[in-house]
């Protein structure tokens, strides 16, 4: 049994303490749990998606429990980049962990404007770009469903920053690997996936949709197998690192994502259930590596014994 395992993980010039992160929108701005959370045990925090102007978000009900999952239509409620810089960043700078700011927008210009504003301040270590938003110029077509649009966003943002740029992909597409390749080709340092799957629930008594917006996004353990397949597919398709996200609830789940090809993982919905779960998972990964004499967590990445890389397309369902 090893005494220490190397846990660090690097994107460009930024070294993250380990490979466990908390996912955007599932950990607020990172400061809500300040009095109980050991930040130094985390790879980093991905903050709630920020838009240029504050967004009130969707009317309630916004969140519904489903079988092993959660359906939400928060609508990217956020305080906007200015308030973030003034009210949140000063606190985040004092937390002993890396801060990845997630950006959402409804036009390429808005993505650029938010990133440029954040470039002008200290305290942000990297960016994650949420492309699961409707593009107002294209009649509301979701950016993340088009390789061309994702390429454009990545290209424009890449020109504007030297910091790590992570493009967060939506699973609601036919060929997620194509979208990942577009991002990689335009200089993304990593891709993260998956964002939520589109879902819906109905109250049979009132005959109304349970969410005010009718449809929303499904997350949680229910989507884990789907997320894992997408991570496997994308990690075979691109050579940049992949952040695996989707239903991670246990150390075991996190290991599955690493083995499937994720260089790092993000814990989302399960933070609601146990605000300390990301730390437990980080500790558990270390323990697994020590017990199995693995010197570097990175050695697990993509080590699943499965070479049928085209299985996803060739499956008879």
């Amino acid at each position: 049994m090893l005494n220490t395992t190397r846990t660090t993980f690097k994107l460009r010039n930024v070294e993250f303490r380990n490979r466990v992160f908390v996912a955007s929108g599932t950990f607020g701005y990172g400061d809500e749990v300040r009095n109980i959370f050991p930040y130094e045990k985390l790879g980093g925090i991905i903050t709630k998606s920020l838009s240029l102007k504050p967004r009130a978000g969707n009317p309630p009900p916004r969140i519904v429990e489903t079988s092993s999952g959660v359906l939400n239509s928060i609508g990217l409620a956020n305080i906007g980049v200015e308030a973030f810089i003034h009210a949140k960043l000063p606190v985040l700078r004092t937390l002993n962990t890396s801060i990845i700011t997630n950006i959402a927008a409804s036009s390429v210009d808005e993505y650029c404007a938010v990133l440029e504003r954040l470039e002008s301040v200290n305290g942000v270590h990297a960016y994650e770009i949420n492309v699961s938003c409707p593009n107002v110029k294209e009649g509301g077509l979701n950016f993340g469903t088009s390789a061309t649009m994702v390429a454009t966003i990545t290209k424009e943002l890449r020109r504007r920053t030297e910091k790590p740029l992570i493009v967060k992909l939506t699973p609601n597409v036919t060929h997620i690997a194509d979208i990942a390749r577009a991002a990689a080709h335009e200089g993304a340092d990593a891709v993260s996936l998956i964002n939520t799957l589109i879902g819906m629930a109905i109250d049979v008594h009132t005959r109304r949709a349970k969410l005010s917006t009718v449809t929303g996004g499904v997350s949680g353990p229910a989507i884990k197998p789907i997320a894992l397949a997408k991570v496997f597919e994308v990690s075979k398709a691109v050579s940049i690192p992949v952040f695996g996200i989707g239903g991670i609830a246990t150390v075991h789940d996190a290991l599955e994502f690493l083995l499937a090809g994720a260089s790092a993982i993000q814990v989302g919905t399960m933070n609601f259930v146990d605000p300390l779960i990301a730390v437990r998972i980080a500790d558990g990964i270390d323990e697994y590596c020590r017990i199995n004499n693995i010197e570097d967590v990175g050695m697990l990445v993509g080590s699943v014994n499965a070479n049928l890389s085209n299985s996803i397309l060739q499956t008879w369902l």
Binding site: G25, T26, F27, G28, E32, V33, N35, I36, K48, A56, G57, P59, P60, P61, R62, I63, V64, E65, S68, G69, V70, N72, I74, A77, G220, P221, A249, T269, N271, F272, V273, D274, P275, L276
Partner: protein, 255 residues
Amino acid sequence: MLSTTAHIIGKNKISETLYILMLECPAITRSAKAGQFVMIRVNSHSIEPLLRRPFSISWIDGDYFEILLQVVGGGTRKLSEKDIGDEVEVLGPLGNSFRIDNTFETAILVAGGVGVAPFPILTKELRERGKEVQTFIGARTKSQLYTQHLVNCSVSTDDGTEGFHGTVVDNVRAYLENTEMQKLKLFACGPTPMLKALGVLVHHKKLNCEVSLETEMACGFGICQGCVVQLKDSNKGYALACKDGPNFFIDEIVL
């Protein structure tokens, strides 16, 4: 907020669907105030239910606190099946507390159904602060009434099996019509239709009223943004029931 565990040290069955659970948890009893709540993980090693469930802190005695538990679905049913000695994970104390200040001398507590839950501890704090307390409890039927630790109770039941035959708001309205009181404040908790009816009454009477909301919650501590309550002041947008609430002045919010 603390993330901790609590032992169930007592359990009382009040009716088929109503229980008191006593949870030993000094970390929480030390700091909790009337109006706050806890999030309880019904089964630690289970994804059913996935999310924690919110419960008002109903009473505190030394190292333990009580919750009043009404069985409405799978989560509350499983919690009601726990035994003395079982351990549950608890987050708390959460949310704001009732505001007890010098603007009032008499508190009128108005509870519908399991909405009575936060009032035992509130009664205690009000009396410690020298307030008069009048309590109005409404339930569907007699067996669902819970009045432990409450004072000056006037009960009503929808089916007339006990007390005033009608809604608790009707009972409060009748009382206010026949009483001259100064420096009143109402505290209310119960189903939304009840709060709406009360809202009309207190608006009409220009009374100060604070309500405790039971909005559905995913996290309970401000990180999911799922529990929003619409504020009347449209510039302010939404408040979070779990962090800015669960206690709001009735004239601040859209019910």
